[in-house]
Amino acid sequence: MKEMAENKSPSAGVRGWQIALLVGIFGLIILFYKGLWGNPSFIPPVIVGTAAPEITAPDLYQPREVTLSQFRGKVVVLNFWASWCLECKLEHQNLLAIQKRFGENPNFVMLGVNYQDKEDLARQYLQEHGNNFEHVRDLKGRISIDYGVYGVPETFVIDQNGVIRHKQIGPIVGETYTFLVEGLIEPLLNGTATTS
């Protein structure tokens, strides 16, 4: 393919791909160099204890927008998930259990954020595995970027003042579940929470 281009306009064609190749190589090297100073398993600590970024996103089931600020004054559990994510399935029953336990409390809201997914697959997933709380779609990955999500599942606990109190990476199973329910959400709802 390159050869054909060269035959038609030897000098211009040759120069074009050569420059593109060089630019590409240098771009890559610079990108890698910058990447070296990041740490992939590093979670920005600033996010816990700071105000939760605002969310405006379409509801998965109803034609309406959900905003985070409408829940101000409530404890919000924000769970990022996707139908293609294996570990999400592992924690799903526990999420349902959390909602069952606190769902009656008017000061508690659990919100699922469907991440990088297809709408029909997301719905199918909830139908198969059960659902008892509200979900929104993260259409452009904007919410995930705002929250610094780099993989699913991730779960955020936001207090009544809209401050992020905890960030959980990975599935809520075993001890994590106990900690989240008894050590975090319950004290927050009862107003007995110390700093977390």
């Binding site: 050869e3 050569q18 990447g35 070296l36 399935k89 990088q116 780099y150």
Partner: protein, 696 residues
């Protein structure tokens, strides 16, 4: 002491590797064969020295010498001998030593095999391979030294990562290295061609089998990784688009494209720059893959230690190699204009062009997906990840296109196909595929990718079968024998083509396996108590009881499951939630029962502390074995391809001087020729390099 001996041997190897870069070049400049011979001996000696280093490390593992820091970090007295040795590549330091060792081995083999047939490019090859080896030895010795000692000496080792304590996983990294490093030989030949100006088809022919072997190793490595993920990680899937998986997949994609496009250069002398570009790209991606994996700049299931210093060094090395190789290509490209233009879009060369385009699109997809998180982070200081939906969206159509081309490429004529050609070749496969489509719809297959995939597989299978039938009967008639004999004759006449097509058959089998095991997978995730049952397609799974179990270096909670088909008990499965006591790591042990060509697959990712319930993940994966059977058939095809006899033409720089060597076609004569060649190797080298370089 033994460790110090090994350490010293590897340090000496570094010195010799530097010598191996310089002396062949000096030899070329001074037209003095002695310098080149020094380079050649350095290559051999390097292999011996690095082997000494490897053996010293293995000795330390077997004698439980935990005063060696790396042995301490990756081994334990309780491990079996197999895993003790495997500890060598169970971490960063040892993997790099293994890399260097394989590189030295391959380089020695290449020099030995090609010394007499490719004398003119050998100095370049030695020099370039030595550059790569120097890079890896520097990294090994200065930034991640496996020979380092610690004091006080720990009583016992920290244990090999439990996830690695598995046969498939133990062999997965070495096979990938064999593949990565194997690509360095065709790469070096390509670079040698660029430097020496011998840019004809020689380097392509000389490196055919090297590329095939490297491709085979990469394929085995990737499949083993997939199998490991399938049952050891308990994914129940074999491919997750993990960045580290992608790092191995990218060179594989380019190597596959290269294996196809070289045929165009061999037959039609086209795609010259393109082939050089592809092989340089393939090896560069091996190096980039090493960088991505070893610097830990991407988050992945493969958790490797991160160390910016180490990453910076590898980056420097990768940058140097990229600029050296692509830079040379750019400078030399003006000389490489192809004289031949494509005659028609309906021709075999056009099919190869599309094949390459598709592979490149696939590569760009994976490349962008893998690096996008890095780019976002660099620009916005935020973290993102790219999920499977992104890859699948682009990948599925490209894969379908590639499979379709598999049914056309081998059969369509070179240059230009006529309408009559096309009708003869593809009318019947198209009709059968159409019939297949109707059949699949009738049996209730509705998923669009499954339908498209199976229809395309039909088309290709019929095209292949028709071709087999045609050539079999052709040779049967001509030799007056039966059809099967005719087929064997056809194979003998053209083993390359037929073994290639066998590889294609393997691809078809694998694709059927992938379609059924992903689209028609049944998955249930639920909490079960003893006595509970769950339906799984036409199977039923009943949890009988949960209890404790113990191994040499682990404790576990085990579940006993009965698998029923109808009312009949067909199997008992015992998945475990295992806990490795030394390293304090939990793992999920999968239990699998084979049904037809598929699997009933059970894991218990979570068991309640009091043992009254378990979280169960149960899967029925129909035809999943076809994925690996397909891989096996692909492998056999490639092995047959590698084993076929080839006559390597002796090509010296001066055709006149090489005149007697034109007669090397007879084996006996060839042997004599070689013997003679050896005796005056020096003289023949001088003949080869002394006259002015010839531009091909």
């Amino acid at each position: 002491m033994i460790i110090e001996l090994g350490h010293f041997a590897v340090i000496t190897a570094l010195v010799l590797a530097v010598l191996g870069i310089v002396s062949p070049i000096v030899g070329l400049k001074r037209r003095d064969a002695v310098w080149v011979e020094v380079g050649r001996q350095a290559v051999t000696l390097n292999f011996v020295l690095i082997s000494v280093g490897m053996l010293a490390m293995i000795y330390a593992y077997l004698t439980h010498d935990y005063s060696v820091k790396y042995v301490y970090a990756t081994s334990n007295t309780k491990l079996s001998i197999f895993y003790k040795i495997a500890g060598l590549w169970g971490g960063h330091e040892g993997s790099l030593l293994l890399w260097a060792w394989v590189l030295a081995l391959f380089c020695m083999m290449a020099v030995h095999i090609h010394w007499k047939t490719q004398p003119a490019v050998m100095p370049y090859l030695i020099s370039i391979e030595s550059v790569v080896l120097t890079g890896f030895l520097l990294l090994t010795l200065f930034l991640s030294n496996p020979f380092e000692r610690i004091f006080p000496v720990p009583a016992d080792g920290k244990d090999l990562n439990p996830l690695l304590q598995d046969p498939a996983m133990v062999l997965h990294p070495p096979f990938l290295y064999l593949g990565y490093v194997g690509l360095s030989i065709p790469f070096s030949f390509a670079m040698a061609a660029l430097f020496s100006g011998r840019l004809g088809e020689e380097w392509i022919k000389a490196t055919q089998k090297w590329t095939l072997a490297a491709w085979l190793f990469l394929t085995i490595g990737i499949l083993m990784g997939g199998y490991w993920a399938y049952y050891e990680l308990g994914w129940g899937g074999y491919w997750g688009w993990d960045p580290v998986e992608n790092a191995a997949f990218m060179p594989w994609l380019v190597a596959t494209a290269f294996l196809h496009s070289v045929m165009v250069q061999e037959t039609r002398k086209m795609f010259k720059v393109w082939n050089l570009f592809l092989i340089i790209l393939a090896f560069s991606l091996s190096l980039i893959g090493t960088f991505l994996v070893r610097s830990g700049i991407l988050s992945s299931v493969h958790s490797f230690a991160t160390d910016p210093g180490r990453g910076l060094f590898i980056l420097g090395f990768v940058a140097f190699m990229l600029l050296l190789s692509f830079g040379t290509l750019i400078l030399r490209s003006a000389k490489l204009k192809s004289q031949i233009e494509m005659d028609s879009v309906i021709s075999r060369e056009a099919v190869f062009l599309f094949n390459n385009l598709f592979f490149l699109v696939a590569l760009i997809t994976v490349f962008v997906g893998t690096l996008y998180p890095l780019l976002v982070e660099a620009l916005q200081f935020k973290k993102v990840s790219v999920g499977p939906p992104y890859y699948n969206t682009v990948f599925m159509p490209v894969a379908l296109g590639l499979v379709f081309l598999m049914g056309i490429g081998p059969y369509i004529p070179w240059r230009k196909a006529s309408a009559q050609n096309l009708k003869d070749l593809f009318l019947m496969p198209s009709l059968v595929a159409l019939g297949g489509l109707v059949f699949f719809l009738a049996v209730g297959i509705r998923h669009s990718y499954a339908l498209a995939g199976l229809t395309v597989v039909c088309f290709v299978a019929v095209a292949i079968f028709r071709d087999f039938a045609k050539i079999s009967s052709f040779w049967a008639k001509r030799e007056q024998v039966g059809r099967l004999q005719g087929f064997l004759t056809a194979y003998k006449k053209n083993p390359r083509r037929l073994s290639g097509i066998l590889t294609h058959i393997g691809v078809l089998v694998m694709i059927i396996g992938i379609i059924f095991s992903t689209i028609y997978q049944t998955e249930k995730i639920l909490i079960m108590k003893p006595g509970d049952e769950v339906g799984l397609g036409s199977y039923r799974l009943k949890l009988i009881r949960l209890y404790g179990a113990q191994g040499v270096n682990w404790e576990a909670q085990e579940g006993l499951f009965n698998v029923y088909k109808g009312e009949a008990l067909i199997a008992q499965l015992r998945p475990q939630k295992r806990f490795y006591t030394v390293s304090q790591t939990p793992t999920t042990e999968t239990a699998i029962h084979q049904v037809l060509m598929g699997h009933v697959f059970v894991t218990i990712p979570e068991v309640s502390p009091d043992g009254t319930w378990a979280r169960v993940r149960a899967l029925h994966n129909p035809l999943v074995l076809w994925v690996w059977y397909g891989g096996g058939i692909m492998g056999i095809g490639v092995i047959l391809n590698i084993l076929r006899k080839t006559r390597l033409k002796v090509t010296a720089a001066r055709p006149q001087a090489a005149a007697p060597e034109g007669a090397v076609s007879l084996p006996r004569q060839a042997r004599e020729e070689v013997l003679q060649h050896r005796s005056n190797r020096w003289q023949s080298f001088l003949n080869a390099v002394r006259p002015g370089r010839k531009e091909v």
